[in-house]
């Protein structure tokens, strides 16, 4: 070969093509590495398995000892291995692509999820699929997230169905006891808003990523539930003083929301948020023993409208209630919150309720 041949356009083109291919291989390797992708090639007839460095790391297969398909199948979770074998067999039999997600249990290592994709890349002289080339990558984190969302969806579904059951119960109980349709409708509307607020707050918090993701701050709950009244207070003066350290677990939120709406509805009809005007003080303080005290105090500026003289089912005396079953509603809330009633006082110009409840 002469120097002139070396510099020929054909040779130059080949050289460039070769360099471009090298470059592409290099980039592909970098990309696979950046994506933590493990590459493998499996030969069906001999069960011989070749894996790159990432592949061996994903499977905790250190060193460079020869690998076989059986070596890796032995590390697959017993519940997933049949599915994986079937998927590989299907790919080899039909020549179709293979796609799987499975758990592996490396000896001494933590269980993790792998994703896999592959396809037939080599065939025998008679056309039978002979080798399978593919990728593995770690999907443990994505799987954990998927499970978290599934759990969340189940929990939300449960809460919504429970709210519907509570609404149905309120309607049935109300129809047995209520004598005044507008009052009953007002109470029902308030309670539906209470459940909607509770659901929205619990849902917002459930999407946070923290440990106690579903806890709801008491301050947010009080401000949300009483928002309709604090924004349109009229002559009333409303003061909210809620300890920012007090939170409620998600399953207690609806009980507190229902209690707040019931108290506010009553205050509109008979108390400080009504025509008489007055002051409303709502305080929540942590006691330091895992319980908190919720106090609701109304002081009226003028004469109170007459209270309906009704007796609760437990014989608790006259109820300043919008519906005639305020006591039932109150008991429902207390039981949901695991709370006890410390005080309930009705005077000429005032009304007060105080409860103790466990908090986070």
């Amino acid at each position: 070969m002469t120097a002139a041949d070396d510099a020929s356009p054909t040779h130059r083109r080949d050289e460039l093509r070769h360099a471009a291919r090298e470059d592409l291989f290099h980039r592909a390797a970098l990309a696979l590495d950046a994506g933590d992708m493990g590459v493998f090639e499996w030969t069906a007839s001999t069960d011989e398995l070749k894996g790159d460095r990432n592949f061996r790391r994903l499977w905790d297969l250190g060193g460079d000892a020869p690998l076989t398909g059986e070596t890796v199948f032995a590390r697959v979770h017993p519940d997933d291995v049949d599915m994986l074998r079937a998927e590989v067999a299907r790919s080899v039999e039909t020549g179709g692509d293979y796609k799987a997600q499975f758990r592996i249990r490396p000896p001494g290592g933590a269980e993790r999820w792998l994703g896999a994709r592959g396809r037939v890349t080599g065939r025998d002289a008679d056309g039978t699929p002979a080798t399978l080339t593919g990728l593995n990558w770690d999907i443990t984190e994505a799987k954990a997230q998927e499970e978290r969302l599934e759990r969340l969806a189940r929990e939300m579904n449960h809460r919504v169905n429970n709210s519907f059951a509570v609404i149905a119960s309120l309607l049935t109980l109300g129809s047995r006891t209520a004598r005044d349709v507008p009052s009953f409708a007002q109470m029902m509307t308030a309670q539906i808003h209470a459940l909607a607020d509770a659901h929205r707050l619990a849902a917002d918090h459930a999407l946070d990523d923290s440990d106690r993701s579903s806890d709801v701050e008491m301050r947010t709950l009080v401000e949300t539930a009483l928002g309709a009244w604090t924004r349109n207070a009229g002559d009333a003066r409303i003061a909210l003083d809620v300890d920012p350290s007090v939170s409620l677990p998600a399953r207690h939120v609806s009980g507190m929301a229902m209690l707040l709406y019931e108290l506010a509805t009553n205050a509109t009809k008979y108390g400080a948020l009504g025509d008489a005007g007055g002051t409303l003080d709502v305080t929540v303080e942590a006691r330091g023993d895992g319980t908190a005290r919720f106090a609701w105090r109304e002081r009226l500026d003028g004469p109170r409208p007459p209270l309906p003289e009704r007796t609760g089912p437990e014989g608790t005396g006259p109820l300043p209630s919008s519906s005639g079953f305020g006591t039932v509603l109150m008991q429902h809330c207390l039981s949901l919150l695991g709370a006890t009633m410390d005080e309930r006082t009705v005077t000429e110009d005032g009304f007060a309720v105080a409860i103790s409840f466990p908090h986070r």
């Binding site: 449960h158 059951a165 149905a168 119960s169 047995r176």
Partner: protein, 118 residues
């Protein structure tokens, strides 16, 4: 509702309003009611003098299955009343039990109990 008349029904439900409502409906149908709101109370109730039960699955302190086991061992009929999406899979180990999605229509719930008791 003759089938329910004179029977004692265990109602396991931790939502006070729902429990109260079921109690009133069952009383109107002539049945006596025993209420339970926790897993412990439910297990005790299931071992007591009851003829059938309505079981909410998810309670504040856990799931109701220990009580369901007691009822199943005694051959007593019971209905799961659950707000969970797909109770079927989890309830499969109680072939004699029925499952109604919560909130079940009161008429359907009572009719189901009657049918199981007759």
């Amino acid at each position: 509702m003759p089938a329910l008349h004179g029977h004692t029904i265990l109602v396991v439900e931790d939502e006070f309003l729902i429990a109260l409502n079921l109690e009133m409906s069952l009383n109107e149908a002539g049945a006596r009611v025993r209420l339970a709101a926790t897993v412990d109370e439910a297990v005790r109730g299931a071992g007591g003098e009851v003829h059938a039960a309505i079981l909410d699955v998810s309670l504040a302190d856990g799931e109701v299955f220990p009580a369901a086991d007691v009822l199943a061992r005694r051959g007593l009929p019971f209905v799961f009343h659950s707000g969970h999406a797909a109770p079927e899979a989890r309830l499969a180990r109680y072939p004699g039990a029925r499952a109604l999605a919560k909130p079940a229509h009161e008429g359907v719930l009572l009719a189901t109990l009657e049918e199981m008791l007759s």
